[in-house]
Amino acid sequence: MNIITLEHIAKIYEVGAEKVHALRDVSLKIDKGEYVAIMGPSGSGKSTLMNILGCLDTPTKGLYSFKGVNVSEMDDNELAEIRNREIGFVFQTFNLLPRSDALHNVELPLIYAGVPSDVRKKRAEEALLQVGLGDRVHHKPNELSGGQRQRVAIARALVTEPSIILADEPTGNLDTKTGEEIMLLFNEIYEQGNTIILVTHEEYIAEHAERIIRLRDGQIESDEPVQNRYIPDLSAIREKEESE
């Protein structure tokens, strides 16, 4: 089933009199249950594409249809509702509320969805359990390691049961081992049937996905399935750990 359809999407930033073509004529389709990596060098338009896919921003030109609904002309509040219900974000810098504990951070999207407090708490606890943080519910971000923070962020993305998970360089601020653990978690989430779009500039991270879209100068350079998908497993991580 088709979730995302982009047709001739362009994004132009006007900086003074100059026009920056961050995206030019991007067309693509993403189906339910896919695991897609978006790759490209710095400045190629990855973040811009991610923002449009995540309904944080609207394209200058082109058509974006999400589950058959045209979102390219929605207003701010309609977009907020799509983000709340359909999209789970995972950022490179985690973007947790620093003074709130893990539970409240995970609860947050449910607050804006109007879910009553008791249901909210239960679902947030379940999501934290799912990412392996059942014993860190009342820890604040500064009491958690980088990997744990990213897990809280993933729990927050999962708690609303969104149609897609959008992750922008989710391992960028983590060491290799912790990054691998996070990629393992993504793999689990993918295997449960979720749709994941992963933005990265690292080849080996991209190879965790089953399809890689490469961008250059705001255009799609290639869009191919991954031949030898890298499936992380715990024993490999352990081995690495021991050898270090």
Binding site: N51, D76, A80, E81, L97, Y112
Partner: protein, 414 residues
């Protein structure tokens, strides 16, 4: 219905989120409240003082009587026309009798002959009275000041000119520190008068200017006998309990007095009909101006406070740009962010209002030492209402700024 439920839920969540933010940053919240604390203390203390002053004033003129018309040569507060009033024909006991006979509707009517303070003696003690009144038994209904020991004089005392009198509390204390004044004989201008009653305490009046508790009241017949003044002008007090009839009674009195005093048609009255109201009007005019000045000054301090709070809220919005970006990214709508910052400002201001009240309440107890009022409940409500309004006013612009932030840029903010 569903929509209203959602709005209530959103409001509740907005308040909870802002309570959380305030709790997390207690120090800033407390400092922010300073902006409004001073204004609220000023407003409540001043309002309490103004209400207290007015009450004290009303209390001090209450012996004049709310629903009493006074027929007099002088227009009260007539000021510069004093000479003209003085040259008018006197109001006499005879005119009082005629008015009483002709007036068709009243609840009480009494002549009042008055003279300034004299020295009163009992044995070797002496006291100075503020006023000496000569009147009839009906005066009791007009002044509404009752004797708390003994009795007021009767119609018979007046008719037979019995040498009796009723004295104020302070005189009783000065002359009879250790004994019961009733049936003791005091000396007024060399004449012996038997004390038959002591009036209840009335208080010191407006900042103690007139001592209502050092007056002496005697039958008018006795007044004429021992003090004289039969040819001096008097006042005639007419009490009308029913407020709605006062204007009609006034018109009738005017007509009767014109006939009695033979005022030719077309000529203005050569007498005045006064009411307590004129004092209140005068008070409102003079003290009102002071009150307005005070209100303007406190409003200014509240305004300055509001600007300060707005400033801090703007800083807070900037500091929390990233937080706003996160909230928006995960689905907070514009109005949710608006509500969050608006309720934060409002809650901070309400806390400031409560702190202000906590400071001004003891102050009002201090005021209560001089004026007959503590902080009225209305003032508490007023303070909270003002805090609420200041919160909305100082929060709206920062909240709008926060709500309008672009999520992509807000997330990129360092």
């Amino acid at each position: 219905m569903k929509k209203i439920g959602r709005i209530l839920l959103d409001t509740k969540e907005g308040i909870l989120i802002s309570l959380r933010a305030i709790k997390v940053n207690k120090m800033r919240a407390i400092l922010t409240t300073l902006g409004i604390v001073i204004g609220i203390v000023a407003v409540t203390t001043m309002t309490t003082a103004i209400i207290g002053l007015k009450q004290a004033f009303i209390q001090s003129i209450s012996s004049i009587g709310q629903n009493v018309l006074y027929v007099d040569k002088y227009e009260w507060l007539g000021g510069k026309n004093w000479r003209m009033y003085r040259n008018r024909k006197n109001i006499t006991f005879d005119q009082y009798l005629k008015l009483k006979k002709s007036l068709s509707y009243y609840d009480a009517i009494a002549p009042i002959q008055r003279t300034f303070g004299r020295t009163i003696k009992y044995k070797n003690r002496s006291a100075t009275s503020s006023f000496i009144y000569g009147t009839t038994e009906e005066y009791l209904k007009i002044s509404e000041v009752l004797p708390d020991t003994g009795r007021f004089f009767s119609e018979m005392d007046v008719g037979a000119a019995h040498n009796v009198c009723v004295i104020g509390k302070d005189i009783a204390k000065a002359l009879f520190p250790n004994e019961d004044p009733i049936n003791k004989e005091i000396k007024v201008m060399g004449h012996r008068l038997r004390v038959i009653g002591v009036l209840e305490k009335q208080g010191s009046g407006f900042f103690g200017t007139i001592s209502l508790d050092s007056q002496i009241i005697m039958p008018i017949t006795v007044f004429y006998k021992i003090i004289g003044g039969r040819r001096r002008s008097m006042q005639i007090a007419v009490k009308v309990n029913d407020e709605t009839k006062i204007d009609d009674v006034r018109l009738e009195i005017e007509a009767i007095m014109r006939t009695i005093r033979k005022v030719p048609p077309g000529k203005p009255d050569d007498f005045a009909i006064n009411r307590q109201q004129v004092f209140e009007d005068m008070y409102d005019k003079t003290v009102g101006i002071i009150a307005i000045a005070g209100i303007v000054i406190t409003a200014l301090s509240l305004f300055v406070g509001a600007i300060g709070i707005m400033n801090i809220m703007f800083v807070s919005v900037t500091e929390r740009t990233r937080e706003i970006g996160i909230r928006k990214a995960i689905g907070a709508k514009t109005h949710a962010i608006l509500l969050q910052f608006l309720s934060e400002a409002t809650i901070i201001c309400l806390i400031g209002g409560l702190i202000g009240l906590a400071i001004s309440f003891p102050l009002s107890l201090l005021i209560n030492q001089f004026l007959p009022t503590a902080m009225p409940f209305e003032v508490v409500l007023l303070a909270l209402f003002i805090s609420f309004v200041v919160g909305i006013i100082s929060g709206i612009l920062p909240a709008k700024k926060a709500a309008k932030l672009n999520p992509v840029e807000a997330l990129r903010y360092e």
